[in-house]
Symmetry: C2
Subunit: 407 residues, 2 copies
């Protein structure tokens, strides 16, 4: 029965590009408009067919993880590009489009994110072995988009450029008090304290990150100026001259956006400046891909700028600048994926083959989404008073341009 539905489902979904599908019964079918290099997929488990008909966005990834769906030449980039392009063109059977509408509407419930749930969601991803993250991240373990300010930068250089760009936006001076919401393994907190003489309180919900970050602060001799706290950002008290949050807003959930920015405003001194760095969609509000939500980021959501801004406005904050990074994350993920493949043997020593295939699918799917679909990074600078930041944005580029002129 499912095999009969597979044809119309794929006809509706794959309208651009070329998909060659080999089914378990030995049959072979072709879908798409015949353009581009063909992507050849083999399905070995008859049970996967029904799941592909019902929810392809979930089942393709699951089939790849299980090894019941393979791509000729292991051309995962090609397979995902085919899917992303067609989903971007809003192709798909009516039941897929209906299900997506349902997911859009359900996000208020799915993203309800009290402390206990936030902790569980964070543990799912960030409490993985630190050794595993070292297999694909840069030496400073920056697990967010790098900034390729110059072509051909290495990943390490681009992550340093990201931290420097954020530091410039924060207008730091020695002695200022900085709150880092979602501090990860402490790389940003340590850099800001060491290079700008500020005092930092970093908060994370991940026990593994808290342990590693605390140890790194100690090793850097910065325990006097940097504190890493295992806490929900909503429990922090006091005021800070600067607030920075990099790659954490994706976990907040739309129903909590106003709470997030109101908390941020409360923590900010009257002349304070904040910088929120988050993945964003250059498209209307939508929902999270079901495979990503199930396996990678439970509770995660990529916001549209209109959603973020509505919350910023109601919190009474000035949005003093909005930068939109395009393609930087595709490039970052390309680096992560290359390092992951280079270290695959060590990854297999830590986790099983299914996990490794899941991780590969995650890295490639995200890279292709940033490259081909409407996904980007928003850097939103915020202040309580409009005078808190300079009149023009030139201060962000002075060093870079002068350096280039001197070359």
């Amino acid at each position: 029965m499912w095999q009969k539905l597979l044809d119309p489902a794929l006809r509706a979904l794959i309208r651009e590009g070329t998909l060659v599908l080999h089914l378990p019964d030995g049959s072979r079918r072709c879908h798409g408009d015949g353009t581009g290099p063909p992507v050849s997929v083999r399905i070995t488990d008859p049970g996967l067919i029904g799941r592909l008909v019902r929810n392809p966005a979930l089942a393709v990834g699951e089939g790849y993880m299980d090894g019941t769906l393979t791509v000729e030449g292991d051309d995962l980039h090609g397979l995902i590009a085919l899917g992303v392009r067609n989903l971007a063109a809003r192709n798909g059977a009516w039941w897929h489009r209906l299900a997506e509408r349902g997911r859009d509407w359900a996000r208020v419930v799915r993203q309800f994110n009290p402390g206990w749930r936030a902790r569980a969601n964070v543990a799912h991803h960030y409490d993985l072995s630190g050794a595993f993250y070292d297999l694909f991240l840069d030496a400073d373990r920056q697990y967010s988009c790098a900034y390729f300010a110059r072509p051909h930068m290495t990943l390490e250089e681009a992550q340093a450029a990201k931290k420097a760009h954020i530091a410039a936006k924060l207008l730091l001076r020695p002695g200022l008090r900085v709150l880092d919401i979602g501090c990860g393994w402490g790389g940003m907190a340590i850099s800001l304290a060491r290079e700008h003489g500020v005092r930092v309180l970093g908060v994370t919900l991940s026990e593994e990150q808290h342990r590693v970050a605390t140890e790194r602060v100690r090793a850097a001799g910065l325990s006097e100026r940097v504190e890493i706290r295992l806490a929900d950002y909503r429990s922090v008290e006091g005021t800070f001259d600067r607030v920075v949050s990099v790659g954490m807003f994706e976990h907040v959930g739309v129903p909590h956006y106003r709470e997030f920015f109101c908390t941020l405003r409360e923590r900010l001194a009257p002349d304070g400046v904040a910088l929120v760095h988050t993945i964003g969609r250059a498209a209307p509000p939508g929902s999270t891909n079901p495979w990503i939500a199930k396996y990678i980021f439970p509770g995660g959501y990529v916001p549209a700028l209109s959603e973020v801004m509505a919350a910023v406005e109601r919190a009474g904050l000035w949005q003093t600048d909005v930068e939109v990074w395009r393609l930087h994350y595709a490039e970052t993920l390309r680096h992560w994926h290359a390092r992951f493949e280079a270290n695959l043997g060590r990854a297999r020593a830590l986790y099983d083959e299914r996990f490794c295939r899941m991780w590969r699918f995650y890295l490639v799917a995200c890279e292709q989404t940033f490259r081909l679909h409407r996904q980007c990074v928003f850097q939103i600078q915020l202040a309580r008073r409009q005078e808190a930041v300079p009149l023009t944005r030139e201060y962000l580029y002075r060093g870079a341009a002068v350096a280039q002129a001197a070359e």
Copy 2:
């Protein structure tokens, strides 16, 4: 009866600062918390009192125009600052707050803006004598926010900096085709054609602006490359490499935002880049001040970024950069007001005293709103493809920073 209601109304409205009020019956009352320099207002028409109770946001301006409300020392800045500060703090009697909610909700009707209404709204303001605009604008008649890239720039320099900054954002090359939506008296179109070798179609709904701009294009010897058309932007056909719109979006109306950005997308070539420059509010969506709506900009509205972005997202455009200019317009209006006062004798030769008082109230009210309330300018760069603009924003600042380093 109205005089009895005046006390509670003012008590609710003026909670910060000090207002001394002299009424027609010779009585005198004091409102506010006693802080700041007192603002002393004299009302000479008993009929104004009821209007002040019912709708102070309209009646204060009307009283000032009629000369039935005067400020001691002609301290209009002080009076308006008092009003803006208290409105910003959401002070006011319950019926004023209720009326404002009503205005907020009514904006969908009020801003319905088909061609005939757009023409009438435009004629109201922009068909005033060109000689009048020369009394307060810069020599190029730039009737939008200037860019004070350096402190102590003259108005002429800051308007030139504005045009240069917009040109940089448009990534111009000789021969590109540019559509200028709301071209005013042609200053932007002429500058872009002359300095960047592009071809420009400028559209305006104002007959006076069309006449003047066409004559200026001819005088500049640019008739081959610049066309000024008396037309609604919705009637333009064909595609353009670049679209620019400066200070026109304020007249579009919220119900037409999606139509505006969809039209912009249709006019834009696949690799095209657009720049929309508009006054904005760093606050939730609201309504237009009733005095401004009645006397200055019928149909005008200052959007929140969340409103603009929702329309951009649905039109399928990339927002590649959002710059927020703060205080530049306060400075621009300060210059305009100073020039207006210096040329007051010539203004009185063109229009009557009530008109001149209206214009002064307009310039000062807007200056104080930009200085003290949550009003700013959004420069929104848009593209159909994410690759249409460089990876970083450094290209916007290269010249300026290098010039400064060389100083």
